[in-house]
């Protein structure tokens, strides 16, 4: 009987696969990305390298010496204290303690201050609190500290915001009204993000993290790109991380363009140049994990997408690695065997600049 290696399904379930099956799954995953993104599939050597990483005997693996990359953590400020049934550990601690633990104990190279609601819009009424927290953190920390939240354009639609939900409008065949609603929401998203960051920058923030751009579709991407552009203009030295929500920009509007490029349907290698053009310092590409597929299939697919994004990008690519993205299974606390293998493959095969 052929040797079998302990791996996982995309939902985290333990599976055992032979080397032949691993190679087959890697090739199929890579071919899927190549087909969707119209990008090159991984070559034989790259497939072999990812397979070798997956078959390593240790529970955890690490990059080769000299290949270390910067790591950061979004919303890590809240992960120590938070305990909402997800990956928070529920240890009573302030956001300052959360940030400092990441800086001094967990090896984060940069950190982010975030609010529990974690979207830009709800930061407006608590802006003074956020500015104060930023100042206190900056006085105590050495690593660059950014302010971060999700653009989350959905908060501008009913029932959370002033504009009618485009999903409801479309179901009533009110297409023009749906387009108007998305365009107005995008304007508000841009305006709010700029307003918030003007204040956080005055409180000493080193930059901004746009976390999960495009979560509400192409309008969300549109509003975020315009906010990035405005912030770069106002603060020439601001560090801007443009992190995406998913691998493909959902075409909720379908007709929005940035610099002449239609935003709907863009894949990571097509998103990266636009983020750079808008003025981002770093791009955070994403590849979603399919919970019904094996980890080799997901990793082969994710590495293929990320390799193409790195190649197309004129700014560093810090890949999004975590629950349900980057070839990592979707579990509240992603299993360390899968996280470290996927991360090593991203650095050594896809060539990402950071995580």
């Amino acid at each position: 009987m052929a040797t079998e290696y302990a791996l996982r399904m995309g939902d985290g379930k333990r599976i055992f696969l032979s080397k032949e099956k691993i190679l087959e799954e890697l090739e199929a995953g890579s071919a899927d990305a190549a087909d969707l993104g119209e990008i090159p599939a991984l070559n034989g050597n790259e497939i072999d390298k990812v397979a070798e990483i997956l078959m390593m005997p240790g529970k955890t693996v690490s990059v080769e010496q000299g290949m270390e990359v910067p790591v950061t953590h979004d919303i890590g400020t809240l992960r120590i204290d938070g305990d909402q049934g997800n990956s928070g550990v529920g240890i009573p601690s302030s956001r300052l303690v959360g940030c400092m633990m990441h800086e001094r104990a967990f090896g984060a190279d940069t950190m982010e201050l975030g609010h529990i609601d974690y979207s830009y819009k709800p930061v407006k009424p608590v802006i003074s609190n956020e500015c104060q927290a930023m100042e206190v953190c900056q006085q105590n920390m050495i690593v660059p500290l950014f302010y971060g939240a999700m653009p989350n354009m959905g908060l501008y639609y009913t029932p959370d915001g002033p504009f009618e939900n485009p999903g409801d409008l479309m179901k009533a065949f009110k297409i023009q009204e749906a387009w108007d609603s998305m365009e107005h929401s995008a304007e508000h998203l841009t305006r709010d993000t700029i307003w918030i960051m003007q204040r956080l920058m005055a409180s000493g923030s080193d930059g901004v993290n746009f976390d999960t751009i495009g979560a509400a579709g192409d309008g969300d991407f549109f509003g975020s790109l315009h906010a990035i552009e405005a912030l770069r203009k106002e603060f020439p030295n601001i560090y801007i991380e443009a992190g995406m929500a998913g691998e493909c920009v959902l075409g909720m509007h379908g007709e929005l363009k940035y610099e002449g490029t239609t935003l709907a349907g863009l894949w990571p290698h097509q998103q990266a140049p636009l983020a750079a053009k808008a003025g981002a310092s770093v791009f955070g590409p994403v590849c979603n994990t399919n919970t019904s597929k094996t980890s080799p299939w997901n990793l082969g697919r994710a590495v293929t997408f990320m390799k193409a994004a790195v190649k197309a990008s004129t700014i560093p690519c810090h890949v999004d690695m975590g629950m349900g993205v980057g070839g990592i299974p979707m579990l509240e606390t992603p299993p360390i065997d899968a996280v470290t293998r996927a991360s090593k493959a991203m650095v050594e095969v896809a060539g990402v600049d950071g995580i």
Partner: protein, 216 residues
């Protein structure tokens, strides 16, 4: 005069263009040459299938799907006047769709609702963060054939199971099908909680709903 094949192609292309006037023009042209049912099945429906494929491939987007569906409805309405009563388009089924309690994710569920509606189902989208009881109450109110349950978080996934259990308690489980979806859901999960089906994306949701409801 255009051949039947050319007319079929024109009908299909008109749907893919998502333009209502172009569809109506193509329908008028085909009317004297083809049977209404043939115009619908071979021309308009074939075009809608292609729209679905292009949507899945990220080449057409949600508003385009809705515009194509709207154009198809207009075309079918024109033809219905010439069709025998028994052949007229019937409602495909009634579906209650929503995201379970505790989960505010809306977009995936909305895309599924839109695609189901454009495929001819009567869809009652009851929103996101929907209490378990509301799914059952709405299904009773509209005499639903199916309930669609979306969850995008591992922590809210159990809500899908709770709806199924409540349907059983209410004695409704035998007549109401249940479809589950959302990133953390899998076929294995659907089997475990005795859902009737799991759909990975919006196109699959439409295909499986047709199989479950129309085929039942």
């Amino acid at each position: 005069m255009a051949s039947k094949e050319e007319l079929i192609q024109e009908l299909s292309d008109a749907i893919i263009s998502c333009k209502k006037d172009r569809v109506l023009e193509a329908v008028e042209k085909a009317k004297g040459v083809m049977e209404p049912s043939e115009i619908i099945e071979k021309g308009l429906a074939a075009g809608m299938n292609e729209v679905g494929t292009l949507f899945e491939r990220g080449k057409l987007f949600l508003p385009h799907v809705m515009m194509a569906a709207d154009a198809m409805t207009a075309g079918v309405q024109v033809l219905e006047a010439d069709m025998p009563v028994g052949e007229q388009k019937k409602k495909m089924g009634v579906i209650v769709n929503g995201t379970v309690e505790g989960d505010v994710h809306d977009i995936g569920k909305s895309i599924v609702s839109t695609m189901l509606q454009s495929a001819g189902f009567e869809v009652h989208d009851i929103g996101r963060d929907v209490p378990i009881r509301d799914f059952v109450n709405k299904a009773k109110e509209v005499n639903a054939d199916m309930i669609g349950l979306s969850a995008l978080m591992t922590t809210t996934l159990p809500g899908q199971k709770e709806v199924i259990e409540l349907l059983k308690e209410e004695g409704m489980r035998d007549r109401v099908k249940v479809m589950v979806g959302g990133a953390p859901a899998t076929q294995a999960w659907a089997d475990k909680i005795s859902a009737d089906c799991y759909a990975e994306n919006a196109s699959e949701a439409v295909a499986k709903a047709k199989e479950l409801i129309v085929g039942k």
